[in-house]
Symmetry: C2
Subunit: 298 residues, 2 copies
């Protein structure tokens, strides 16, 4: 490794329209732009291929799903090889009839598949009816080697779980990417919106601190109202990259498309972990109850 080992992360914050092919075309364009800015590991938002369809439960929408070797992923394998960049491509995975996942393919810079992540924590809240669509992931929490560095991928709702970040960091990820689709319910935004967004930013910055790794979250942006009789969701953007102390390296606004880049410096990561040696002192003898739903007896 050279003097300053590391790699440059790129995030795409974008709006999604109702035409899936157009979303694909625009996502490709933005990955090209990120690469032109020097990004080497580039992440798209969750389910970039469509508007956020989970606002209603409709069995016909399983038609949006594709296998891992469908065009939502393979198109980016060709692009990654051409540009010489790694790309994290979230997609609605059709694994078998009746078995669908909210997944992300990690494509290495030669176009090969570095690995697959399937969203482990599936939400179910008003207008986020994901439990209807997605079987919980069964591949666990992983890290993937790319040409540029070892990275991890978690998806959206996973953001709220310290266990997910910890297990991904313990697998050797130096950056944890979070493709995301989060926003405000219009009727809640005025009263609760600022606190909600601050909680979302804070818990992820906390993962950076606790694990001594970089965090990079790519969110969608824009208002989507696929069900006219529902209020829709205003996706809040705020894609960001933090260093291993949770300090901002880059952050987007809440209304416009954007491309973010930042340098992951593995010397910094090592220095921070040497000076804040949290991993050294973990009480692995005393964490067993983490696998309980609730500690009824304690």
């Amino acid at each position: 490794m050279g003097d300053m080992p590391g790699y440059t992360v790129g995030l795409v914050q974008m709006t999604m329209g109702t035409d899936g092919d157009e979303n694909l075309r625009r996502a490709m364009e933005k990955v090209e732009q990120a690469a032109a800015l020097g990004a080497q590991v580039i992440c798209l938002p969750e389910l970039y291929r469509s508007q956020y369809f989970c606002q209603k439960e409709d069995a016909a929408l399983f038609d949006l799903a594709e296998p891992l070797n469908g065009p939502s992923v393979t198109t980016f394998q060709a692009l990654a090889a051409r540009l010489g960049v790694a790309v994290i491509v979230p997609f609605f995975e059709r694994r078998a009839p009746g078995v669908y996942h909210n997944s992300a393919a990690v494509i290495d810079a030669d176009g090969s598949l570095a690995g697959l992540y399937r969203k482990m924590h599936i939400p179910d809240d008003p207008a986020y009816y994901e439990k209807f669509y997605f079987a919980p992931g069964d591949l666990g929490f992983r890290a993937f080697n790319t040409r540029f560095g070892r990275i991890g991928v978690l998806i959206c709702w996973d953001q709220w779980y310290p266990e997910a970040a910890r297990l991904t960091a313990l697998a050797g990820a130096t950056t944890i990417f979070y493709p995301t689709a989060i926003g405000w319910h219009p009727q809640e935004k005025a009263q609760y919106g600022a606190a909600q967004q601050d909680s979302w930013l804070t818990v992820q910055r906390g993962h950076a601190v606790a694990n001594g790794c970089y965090i990079a979250a790519a969110n969608r942006v824009g208002f989507e109202q696929p069900v006219p009789e529902q209020a829709g969701i205003e996706f809040w953007g705020n894609s960001f990259i933090t260093d291993p102390q949770g300090q901002w390296l880059a952050r987007s606004g809440d209304a416009a498309e954007d491309i973010l880049t930042a340098r992951v410096d593995l010397n910094d990561l090592e220095t921070i972990r040497r000076n804040w040696p949290f991993l050294r002192d973990r009480r692995i003898d005393a964490y067993g109850d983490i696998t309980l739903r609730w500690r009824d007896e304690s």
Copy 2:
């Protein structure tokens, strides 16, 4: 329970002098003041009885330790009973010759002992030579019933560990208290001080969000230089209380003594957990590797 079940938390942020009896007297005075402000569960800073002696390794300093039934704790049992408040009393515990802990007694409002916590994560950094003094705790991560509510106690370095907060919350704690002694190395403050403090605040606010519980951290304040040839530590105060979304309810400055109070509203806690149902979706089937030091094979 009444219309707005809950209780009022009180935190003491104070300076410690070289006279242990004077520290005890002043701590009592401040607990009285907190009670007069309406606080019902009151927490002192870590090792309130002395200056932060871990800045050097000196076997003579084990003389500062006391058993659980020594005056550092029993004095507060009498005070708690007189005031009708619960008090969290951190102390340097002498358990046996050669077996010492960094502990906190939880005293209920009738003066009885509600329980004992022994710091589980022990740091060892320049001027924080705690591994020399304290055997790692062997009581695990607990919650304690007081007259006013079920609370948890963790101590200082535990703050950086999501596992500790999770296990305490899963045991039913509605507030996690963190008696603390953290500050700046004078030679680092200008360059790194702001980021260090922000990391410390952020990771704890993240625990509030991830677990849907209140967080209350009581730090010491003031400059202490027990070893003249060392630079000393400027303890940075910033004691704080957040709600279960990590939003500030109260926060002290970095230079002066202070007493903070805030209301824990169990209706709010329940509402937040209903609307951000993180505990529902934990993948307890997939967290087993949390008990590994590092996931070499993944």
